[in-house]
Amino acid sequence: MDKNMKILIVDDFSTMRRIVKNLLHDLGYTNTSEADDGKTAWPMLQGGGFEFVVTDWNMPGMTGIDLLKNIRQDPALAKLPVLMVTAEAQREQIIEAAKAGVNGYIIKPFTAVTLKEKLDKIFQRAAEAA
């Protein structure tokens, strides 16, 4: 996988954005940008260049699930891999995210191992599909 891929981290808590950024750096992904909710993320994604999105669910402005739906509906972004990292742990939420086309779902609190596992799985699937 191209470790220089451009990744967008979307979370309303700056602490969590920093933690995800640090974890991604540890895994070798250093080309990251941040947005504090879906509303801020959307124009950044439309600006192009992002190859991966890590997003929280519950955020003011635009939630992660709405961001995901917007991405899937946009012809230019529809295939962008989206990994949801959220504290929302209800069955219905997981199913809703799956139906909206999420590529991976991580429940907070999570570990570096879980993040690596989900990233690897998503990239492996992308490689298989290509």
């Binding site: 808590f13 602490t15 933690i19 640090n22 199913i95 429940i107 570096a112």
Partner: protein
């Protein structure tokens, strides 16, 4: 009302009911709709009256309770002072933990640079050891010093790597701030909703004021799982569920 229906009717009641029903049957057979409707209305009135009486009683009770509640000065004390105060305290907790977590992350970032410098110094040490050994005669004491330098290099590298691992764990541990922050924000929202509802209750009880108590907003999302408070999936439940859905 259902209890009344279950009671056995007295003989006079029964005779009166039969007479009414016969009268209604005759009216229906004669095609006298007006008379039939009148009979039906009379038949049902006692039940409707009972229902209205019940509603009136409940309303009176509610009104009395609301008045008693609003007379209690503790309630306005809660609404005017203690609830906003509780929210401010919780806001402060969120702010403090966020600052502490960010301060920790700043120090982690800085320490990562230091750990990288230590590693670079270790690499340079190895390089210099190489160069020195290339120019000095291979005496036993030179070889012994060289071996010590190699050992030192290994110690430096191992420690730098462990330091990096600890810094990653330290960064990861700050995750608590997001979760506790989310939980506290939900409690703040709940307290504010209760506050709004109480203000409306006080207003409704006030003289000449109408209005109803607004139900607290029910947030659509459950938020972070709190052990012993709510049921939620863990990562392996989520993985199993997604696998079921073809992920």
């Amino acid at each position: 009302m259902t209890a009344a229906a279950a009671n056995p009717r007295s003989a006079p009641d029964r005779a009166e009911m039969l007479a009414r029903l016969r009268g209604m049957l005759t009216a229906l057979e004669d095609g006298d709709d007006a008379l039939f409707e009148h009979g039906l209305a009379q038949l049902l009135r006692p039940r409707e009256d009972g229902l209205l009486a019940n509603v009136a009683r409940i309303t009176r009770n509610l009104h009395r309770t609301v008045n008693e509640v609003s007379c209690d000065s503790r309630l306005s004390q809660y609404v005017n002072a203690e609830m906003p105060d509780a929210c401010k305290r919780l806001d402060y907790v969120v702010k403090l933990t966020e600052e502490a977590a960010n301060r920790t992350l700043d120090l982690v970032d800085h320490s990562r640079v230091l750990a990288r410098n230590v590693r670079d110094a270790g690499d340079r040490l190895l390089h210099i050891q190489d160069q020195v050994m290339a120019v000095v005669p291979q005496t036993p004491s030179a070889l012994s010093l060289s071996a010590q330098l190699l050992l030192l290099h290994k110690t430096i590298m191992d420690n730098a790597d462990q330091l990096n691992g600890n810094l990653s764990a330290l960064s990861q541990a700050q995750e608590y701030q997001d979760l506790t922050g989310q939980v506290i924000r939900r409690v703040i929202r709940l307290v504010r909703d209760v506050e709004t509802a109480l203000i409306e209750l006080l207003r409704a009880a006030g003289p000449g004021q109408g209005g109803a108590v607004r139900a607290a907003d029910t947030p659509g999302l459950a938020g972070p799982a709190v052990p012993g408070v709510n049921q939620a999936a863990n990562q392996s439940d989520a993985d199993a569920l997604l696998a079921e859905l073809g992920f």
